[in-house]
């Protein structure tokens, strides 16, 4: 204690200085703590801990990666994905940049991103970007939901959260994997990946592929009859004129000897000269046009767009099962009976609704279903084959994979925008032939569920003890203390 009384000014300034000094210290300490921090996951099944695979990947990052968290806060997965991305940022340190965009409230930013990455700006998703490459992970692909409670009015429940697997595999692709090249053939009137033409252009389709880190390229086999070594897959998008024998030989060789991957979409009536090639894999493109008829006030109107149902048990259709796919201007396909030495059976992916038939006389006037001549519905409209498939679906690696679609028009710009299932089907097909799903072996997080089975009497007894007995005993204690002090 001091003997002399310091002046008021000194006292005042001493207090002010202390406040300022400690405030600076506070800010500094907390800045450090913000920069360098750690989290500890105390949950029983380590719900919020990244797997070693992800952590190692994050520690070894050479280039910065940006994660866009493009989600509506009301989305059921918001807090899950938020926590997950924060862990990526924590473990990735300076290499991970993280931006939260609420599409409803950051309208300007949302539109900016929607424009840059070409999406509607309404979906909830995570965008993983590194350098020139980026990949989208849509909300619905991150979790398996349990809808069983919805009937009784309960919200959908997360059965398994696969966010880490999805984000880490996307991260791997944008960081390490050169984007894979998919070649679109040219020279036979195929859909052009640069054309904006609504009915024949494939610009939208190509953009969709870029979303999943695939580079669409073009290939002219007449100029140079060779399929480049870096081709991950070949797309033949609705040829109108026949392929030359040299070209066919190249494609045949690619499919057979290089275990090639092919996505082929066909126009009705067009002679592509690829029939023999497809037949080798057990698929025939019928010379038909899929048609339906409606009678409006006595006038029969023909319909060329076939609504088709997806058939399950295939990686292409499983995610979009129960949705309707529209095949515009299509021809039907037939799965041929198994031939000797043929590996892999074609699997039907989609069938048109029953009222649509396969018209054989599509170049004549007066088209209607003629028994015996035309093909009766439901028509098979898309088929997939994998020569690596062994019997019961056990997959042997390294097979030739082909997807045939009876319609090429359905993947043109306008239908791709108009029907939401067209792009899904297209991207799923290309992903499947490329085996796009990297198997990382990251386990999904499964939330534990708890329940109680108290009888009403147990409940009221518990309530009595906790809400009455406990507070009352405190009150009694207080009275006792008060009496004792008075007495």
């Amino acid at each position: 204690m001091s003997d002399k009384q310091p002046s008021r000014i000194i006292i005042g300034s001493s207090v002010v200085l202390t406040v300022i000094f400690s405030a600076i210290l506070l800010v500094f300490v907390n800045y450090l703590s913000w920069r360098h921090y750690k989290t500890f996951d105390l949950t029983e099944n380590k719900m919020f801990t990244l797997s070693d695979k992800t952590v190692n990947l994050l520690k070894g990052l050479d280039h910065p990666v940006k994660l866009y968290f493009f989600f509506n806060p009301e989305h059921g997965l918001y807090s899950w994905v938020d926590k997950l991305l924060r862990q990526y940022r924590e473990k990735g340190g300076d290499k991970i940049e993280f931006e939260v965009v609420d599409p409803q409230r950051d309208l300007v930013r949302a539109q900016e991103l929607a424009k840059r990455y070409r999406f509607t700006g309404e979906d909830n998703m995570v965008i993983v970007e590194s350098g020139e490459r980026h990949k989208f992970i849509e909300a619905q692909s991150m979790a398996e939901m349990d809808m069983s409670g919805m009937m009784t009015g309960q919200p959908a429940r997360i059965k398994a959260f696969r966010g880490e697997e999805k984000i880490t595999s996307a991260l791997l692709e944008v960081v390490e994997g050169e984007s894979r090249k998919v070649y679109f053939t040219l020279g036979h009137g195929e859909g052009d990946i640069t054309s904006q033409d609504p009915k024949s252009g494939y610009f939208e389709a190509a953009e969709k592929l870029k979303r999943i880190n695939i580079s669409p390229m073009t290939l002219n086999l007449v100029q140079k009859p060779e399929i480049p070594a870096d081709a991950a897959a070949l797309v033949i998008a609705g040829p109108l004129s026949p392929f030359q024998p040299d070209e066919i030989k190249v494609i045949e060789d690619y499919l057979k000897n290089r275990k090639g991957k092919l996505f082929i979409a066909l126009h009705p009536g067009a002679k592509s000269a690829l029939d023999d090639l497809l037949a080798q894999y057990g698929i025939r493109a019928d010379d038909t046009m899929a048609l339906g008829a409606v009678n409006l006030l006595g006038v029969t109107k023909l319909l060329g767009s076939v609504p088709a149902g997806m058939l399950g048990k295939h990686p292409i259709t499983d995610p979009i099962l129960g949705q309707s796919l529209v095949f515009t201007n299509a021809r039907s396909l037939t799965v041929l009976p198994p031939a000797e030495g043929q590996k892999g059976r074609p699997v039907e992916l989609a069938k048109g609704i029953e009222a649509f038939w396969g018209e054989t006389a599509y170049d004549k006037d007066n088209m209607e279903f003629t028994e015996g001549k035309d093909l009766q519905g439901p028509l098979t409209l898309a088929v997939a084959v994998d020569t690596g498939t062994v019997g019961d679906g056990n997959v042997e690696l390294g097979g030739t994979r082909i997807v045939v679609s009876g319609s090429a028009t359905m993947f043109a710009n306008a239908p791709m925008m108009q029907y939401p299932m067209s792009p899904d089907f297209f991207m799923n097909s290309v992903s499947w032939i490329l085996r796009n799903e990297k198997q990382l072996g990251i386990e999904p997080k499964v939330p534990k569920q708890y329940s109680l089975g108290l009888s009403p009497s147990q409940f009221w007894m518990l309530g009595g003890v906790i809400c009455l007995l406990l507070p009352a005993s405190i009150l009694l204690g207080g009275v006792a203390v008060w009496l004792k002090r008075r007495g």
Partner: protein, 252 residues
């Protein structure tokens, strides 16, 4: 450091806290609130299965956290204000004690009472076990995280209340200003939900957001950021309080 001095003052403080009828009323109402909240949680889980245990649902209840905002201003309002008013402060100041020993002892006393208020809730799950016969599904990690959060919030609010109490002779002023301040601390972090601040401000608000800490700890994640924030902010407030006391002593 003289632990003995601190112990003596602490005992004096605790006696005045635990022997006042108001303290028991406070504890009574507090237990009513937590008790009802616990029963609401039991009811919720009894109705339909959920992804959380009873105690986790209990801590998710907003009531608990609102009650938190009120309790500390009430507990700390007396700390200095009453001594100023009754004139016992001079007596304390002329005794051979250091300012910060006084501050620390009063702080610890308030915290001890606060812990005592919360202690019965630890019994809830055990009472449940006995009364309901069936064992409660436990998830210890998240539950202890929640208690850690309760303690850290108490540390911060207590330091804040103590500082404000050291500034005024009037208990009513102290309790009101404290209440406004704790509410401000609490709701500052919520600004991120209402507005959409740019990056840096968002980061700062989220760093100090009590609400976000509650959410994170509530799920069983311990974050060193929050630990450092509460510890350093409490420490700074106590330091300022000590300075204020020191200046009062000189002025006296």
């Amino acid at each position: 450091m003289n632990f003995n001095t601190i112990r003596v003052i602490l005992q004096r403080e605790l006696r005045s806290l635990f022997l006042s009828p108001i303290a028991y009323m406070l504890a009574f109402f507090y237990l009513l609130i937590t008790g009802f909240t616990f029963m609401i949680s039991v009811q919720a889980l009894n109705e339909s299965p959920r992804d959380f245990t009873v105690m986790e649902i209990f801590f998710q209840n907003f009531f608990i956290w609102i009650a938190q905002l009120f309790i500390m201003p009430v507990l700390t309002m007396r700390s200095f204000s009453e001594e100023y008013r009754l004139g016992t402060f001079e007596g304390l100041m002329t005794a051979p004690v250091r300012d910060w020993e006084v501050v620390l002892a009063k702080y610890l006393a308030v915290l001890a009472f606060y812990v005592a208020l919360w202690a019965p809730t630890v019994l809830y799950q055990f009472i449940f076990q006995i009364v309901a016969v069936t064992p409660t599904p436990l998830s210890n990690g998240p539950v202890w995280c929640n208690y850690a959060m309760v303690l850290m919030m108490g540390m911060l609010y207590a330091a804040l209340g103590l500082m404000i109490s050291s500034l005024t002779h009037n208990q009513i002023v102290a309790v009101l200003v404290s209440l406004v301040s704790t509410c401000m601390v609490f709701f500052l972090g919520l600004l991120n939900f209402f507005f959409n601040p740019p990056g840096a401000i968002r980061d700062v608000l989220s760093y100090i957001s009590v609400f976000e800490h509650m959410e994170q700890f509530g799920q069983g994640i311990v974050n060193t950021r929050a630990l450092v924030f509460y510890a350093s902010a409490s420490f700074m407030l106590l330091l300022v309080t000590q300075k204020i006391i020191e200046s009062k002593r000189w002025r006296a």
